[in-house]
């Protein structure tokens, strides 16, 4: 009913601007509008209806409709509604009015769309290259359908370097990355530093692009992709696995059996448990408190073993296929999982009690890396970062999926908006996860693990799914297609949004606080960098050329 009510409201307000609308279910709404009115419509939705910006998606739809497609996805969290504002663009010169000045959170989404699909966001003030490698020629867009998945343009220049912005006057430049002990993955922050104070920064990431979306859209099939999706991230892989499968299921109107939904919930929560414990450890390591780092890793280890017993792997569970799951939780595993949870709870409680009164850690984290509710809204920050600023959002409750509508849990919020509050949120969420898993184990009913799918999946349907990853909402958008694979699959990992909030968080802070502020969003660069086909390291001395390295690895693989 919500979707219908909202649509009525849109109709009254925008009337003739709406070209078409899809209401596939109660809590999904796709509104197609005229390209010239996208700005007006999104402004209304974002400002007056107080929707949360989720993602911007560009798609090359020319082989099917002869046009380009742009979607801005928004979430109405209180109303439990996910809504897409879509517009078709002419094939010859695709461009659309930028919404970044009203919705700052859309900045990266629009830049990515420009890089990869070649849709020009008109009016965007900072159109620097975001995703494509530095030597990639202008005018070549990898996500267009006429570009092959393994194509490297002839004009590709591996020697060209990225041009960084000028440092402000009086500032020293400290290159933070591409490789740094606190970054477990390559990313480059160029810090503009005055004494010990950070005055600004520029980010150049997307260094480990793997062309995952393109690969999925051109060579893999529906049931291969979950395994690929899982490899987007080494920590929250299962989240992508589930989110992809759910968006396809939604597009094809499939409902997995209840037991499968419970198992998905259990695995997602196991993942949250190990991820949060890992984060607490790493955060402590960043501020030099190695004892808690070691202890939380010790407490975490049984979770990894449990995951291995269920799925055969500590990570990358290879859990989902379309319409179900691949692993069962047998009565013996159930029993063992319960005892692991009991042990975890009894060990974690004293840790939380000790940490929450520790003046030493508070000194390093209180008032550090602040992102208040206003920033959360404008930059689209999500997950523990938002909840630590008192913004009560959690996809598990707001946009329930799997079996989350059948379990009870509290959404933990804090008011400090700083690193300390994020620490508390994560530490307390561990208990909620334990609670959820216990309820699932109690309520899980017997039944099949997979749905029998006899027909081909319908073509040209849209599905989207938001899954609450340990770091925040992971959003997947799928348009189903021919050849047993999706036409377009877009992944928006939580770090993609949270990373955009970092420059504001670290401004006018000390360098020492920079690392823990960045750490506090639990950044996952591999999630963010999931896209491109070729990777070039910029700016550093090259001993090996890229071709030589490629040859070398191939030789190794072939033996």
């Amino acid at each position: 009913m919500i979707a219908r009510e909202m649509f009525e409201q849109f109709k009254q307000r925008f009337g003739p601007l709406i070209v078409r609308a899809d209401l596939p279910s109660d809590n999904r709404l796709f509104v197609f509008v005229d390209p010239s009115s996208v700005r007006y419509v999104t402004q209304h939705i974002f400002r007056e209806l107080d929707a949360r910006y989720v993602a911007t998606i560009g798609a090359d739809d020319r082989p099917f409709s002869g046009k380009f497609l742009v979607a801005h996805n928004f979430a109405f969290d209180k109303e439990h509604l996910l809504c897409g504002i879509l517009a078709y663009l002419p094939p010859d010169k695709p461009q659309i009015d930028s919404i970044t000045d009203m919705v700052p959170a859309a900045s990266w989404g629009e830049r990515e769309m420009r890089d990869l699909v070649g849709i020009e966001p008109v009016g965007h003030r900072y159109l620097k290259r975001l995703v494509l490698p530095d030597g990639w020629p202008e005018g070549s867009h990898p996500l267009r359908k006429d570009t092959l998945w393994n194509e490297v343009p002839a004009q590709y220049d591996p020697e060209r370097e990225f041009k960084f912005d000028e440092a402000p006057e009086g500032c020293m430049v400290i290159p933070f990355g591409p490789f740094h002990p606190t970054l477990d993955e390559p990313a480059h922050f160029r810090l503009f530093v005055e004494g010990e104070m950070v005055r600004g920064c520029e980010y150049r990431g997307f260094m480990v692009h793997r062309g995952i979306e393109k690969l999925a859209e051109s060579v893999m099939n529906y049931n291969d992709i979950p395994m690929l999706a899982e490899r987007i991230c080494g920590i929250c892989g299962c989240v992508h696995n589930v989110a992809y499968v759910q968006s396809v299921e939604e597009a094809a109107a499939l409902k997995p059996p209840p037991r499968a939904e419970y198992i998905r919930t259990i695995m997602l929560e196991l993942e949250r448990l190990h991820s949060h414990l890992l984060w607490v450890g790493l955060a402590c390591h960043i501020v030099g408190f190695d004892t808690l780092f070691m202890q939380s890793f010790r407490i975490r280890e049984p979770i990894m073993w449990m995951a291995e017993k269920i799925s055969g792997n500590r990570k990358t569970y290879a859990l989902c296929v379309i319409g179900g799951v691949r692993w069962n939780i047998t009565p013996e595993l159930k029993l063992e999982l319960r005892s692991v949870l009991d042990k975890l709870e009894s060990e974690w409680r004293p840790v939380v009690a000790a940490v929450s009164h520790d003046k030493n850690i508070q000194k390093r984290t209180c008032g550090v890396g602040v992102a208040d509710a206003g920033q959360v809204k404008s930059m689209g920050l999500i997950g523990p970062v938002a909840r630590a600023a008192g913004v009560d959002i959690d996809c598990r409750r707001d946009h329930p999926y799997a079996a989350y509508d059948r379990v009870e849990f509290d959404v933990i919020t804090e008011q400090g908006a700083d690193v300390w509050s994020r620490l508390l949120v994560r530490a307390k969420e561990v208990f909620e996860s334990i609670r959820i898993i216990r309820q699932c184990l109690d309520k899980m009913e017997d039944g099949p693990l997979q749905l029998e799918i006899k027909d081909e999946l319908p073509i040209g349907r849209m599905g989207l799914s938001s899954v609450e990853a340990p770091r925040g909402e992971s959003h997947h958008f799928v348009i189903t297609g021919e050849n047993n694979r999706p036409r377009r699959w877009r992944v928006r990992a939580p770090t993609y949004q949270n990373l955009q909030g970092i420059p504001a968080m670290i401004k006018d802070q000390q360098i020492a606080d920079m690392t823990i502020s960045l750490g506090s969003i639990d950044p996952c660069f591999s999630c963010t960098d999931r896209l491109e086909t070729v990777d070039v390291r910029s700016g550093s001395v090259k001993v090996w050329s890229q071709e030589e390295l490629l040859k070398l690895t191939r030789k190794k693989v072939e033996g």
């Binding site: 430049v173 030099g288 408190f289 390093r364 690392t515």
Partner: protein, 307 residues
């Protein structure tokens, strides 16, 4: 003549002892840290092997001025070993006549200067940030030890090492207020003198990638590491002689063993504090030390009035 030879031999014996014991103390520190963190930990002798490994590696010239880099590495170990010659290690100070407390203060400052030289030689942004932190903390840290020694010298009415380094801070009639104040000050700042968490700010691995040492490798790194380990022993020895003198006068080997037992208790204390704290930020640390400097000036004034 004979006395001079004995002095030199005594000094060398101290140097040898420090070189021998320092990696072991580090081994103990690592093992205890590991036990606190529920880990197995490396064998007690691991630091010896680490040093041997580093010393056997290729000597790479790197950084902006390799000459200065080499010099800083040599100087850092040399300076701390020179201190070893002056500090009593269970016996009386071997080179008693060769220098006084003022020389000791200078040599201790020289150890810090080496870190600055190392950072300057590397010329990387990280090392520069590291030395700016090192410099800031030196400005507030060095006075603390100097004042402690001067308080001792005032009470002992002498700058001679043997007189000062024998619990002289308490050598007054009545309650030794200044000595007790300095004891508290030194306990609170000891972690910073031996450059351990929570005050290893200038090296902060997760922020500055070891700061001034970022360009060091192989034998030169070994020298710095050795100096770092030696610092722990020598500062502990200094602390013990200055503030915990009781029992040192007992006959050999009881007094000697007691001295080393006290040193190792101090090493343990450093370990436990390091394992249970997060690193402070430079401004927080400076504010903390500045407060201590203020307090120690009060002690100094009390000492001049004989309290």
């Amino acid at each position: 003549m004979k006395a001079v030879i004995w002095m030199i031999l005594g000094g060398l014996a101290n140097v040898g002892l420090v070189l021998l014991v320092a990696p072991f103390a580090q081994g103990v520190l690592r093992k205890v840290t590991a036990r606190i963190q529920s880990r197995q930990g490396p064998p007690l002798l691991q630091p010896y092997f680490d040093l041997l490994k580093l010393l056997g590696k290729e000597d790479i010239e790197s950084g902006e001025s390799p000459g200065m880099q080499r010099f800083a590495a040599y100087l850092s170990l040399a300076a701390i070993l020179a201190v070893a010659c002056l500090v009593p290690m269970g016996f009386s100070a071997p080179m008693n006549g060769a220098g006084d407390v003022v020389l000791l203060i200078y040599l201790l400052t020289l150890c810090g200067i080496c870190t600055l030289l190392a950072g300057l030689a590397a010329g990387s942004t990280y090392s520069l940030v590291g030395i700016s932190r090192e410099m800031m903390s030196m400005i507030v840290l060095e006075p603390l030890f100097a004042i402690a020694l001067v308080v001792g010298a005032l009470h002992a009415q002498s700058f001679r090492l043997n007189e000062v380094l024998s619990g002289s801070v308490y050598a007054v009639a009545g309650t030794p207020y200044s000595g007790l104040i300095m004891l508290v000050v030194m306990v609170l700042s000891f972690q910073a003198f031996v450059q351990r968490v929570p005050f290893d700010i200038s090296e902060a691995e997760t922020e500055l990638m070891e700061g001034p040492l970022v360009e060091y490798s192989g034998p030169k790194l070994a020298l710095f590491k050795y100096a770092h380990m030696a610092k722990l022993i020598i500062y502990s020895a200094l602390f013990v002689t200055l503030f915990v003198p009781w029992g040192s006068g007992l006959v050999f080997p009881v007094g000697w063993l007691l001295f080393w037992a006290k040193v190792f208790v101090l090493v343990m204390l450093v370990t436990v504090v390091a394992a249970t704290h997060a690193r402070y930020r430079i401004d927080q640390a400076i504010r903390f030390f500045a407060g201590l400097v203020g307090v120690s000036f009060v002690a100094l004034i009390l000492a001049t009035y004989g309290h």
